[in-house]
Symmetry: C2
Amino acid sequence: MAAGERINLGQKLASFAEHWHPKLVDTIDDYEIKVVKLMGDFIWHRHAEADELFLVLNGALRMDFRDRQVSVAAGEMIVVPRGVEHKPYAEQECEILLLERRGVINTGDAPAGALTRGQLERI
Amino acid sequence: MAAGERINLGQKLASFAEHWHPKLVDTIDDYEIKVVKLMGDFIWHRHAEADELFLVLNGALRMDFRDRQVSVAAGEMIVVPRGVEHKPYAEQECEILLLERRGVINTGDAPAGALTRGQLERI
């Protein structure tokens, strides 16, 4: 599935506007490489069996855990460990590269709702 | 193994100077997230069973394949598909985030040599 082609992340991000809607840009083995725009509050959730990489490309992300908050700015990253409850938050629009195993649902163990994205669009 | 901590990639890259020597910064599931500085020519090799993600953080990388060359600048990425012979090249120093499954050797199927890095230092 990996393409062996150059992917410009800024161009990919410029091709859509909606928030909290990850788009697939490539795969590596069984992992999906996605870009997503965040703004405001997501929901609390966890992924029982999967770590999740957030790499900030533009803006700043705040990753809330139940016991602490971690600010992550452009050029910084955080891996949320499997099983750990978390809630991404962005005071202003923030652009992210997201990497996780294929099939991981963005809202994790939370009940599926308006923010849940199952099938991903590839851009 | 994932830490749940913010990692500043620029700070990690500023902590060492050598070229072609990947440093481990975090893990996601069984995958290693590494930073590396490139300059000049690497060697031709392939990874029979592993795709390999190169995300350029600073500078520009040229990924040589046997039938083409792909230029990848800061903010761009390329996934080299498993089994495909490739040779990274950087005319000037280039800083990269590298992601691949744990245990993948940087020189792939090429005979181990001066550029081969087995055990990775975590920084």
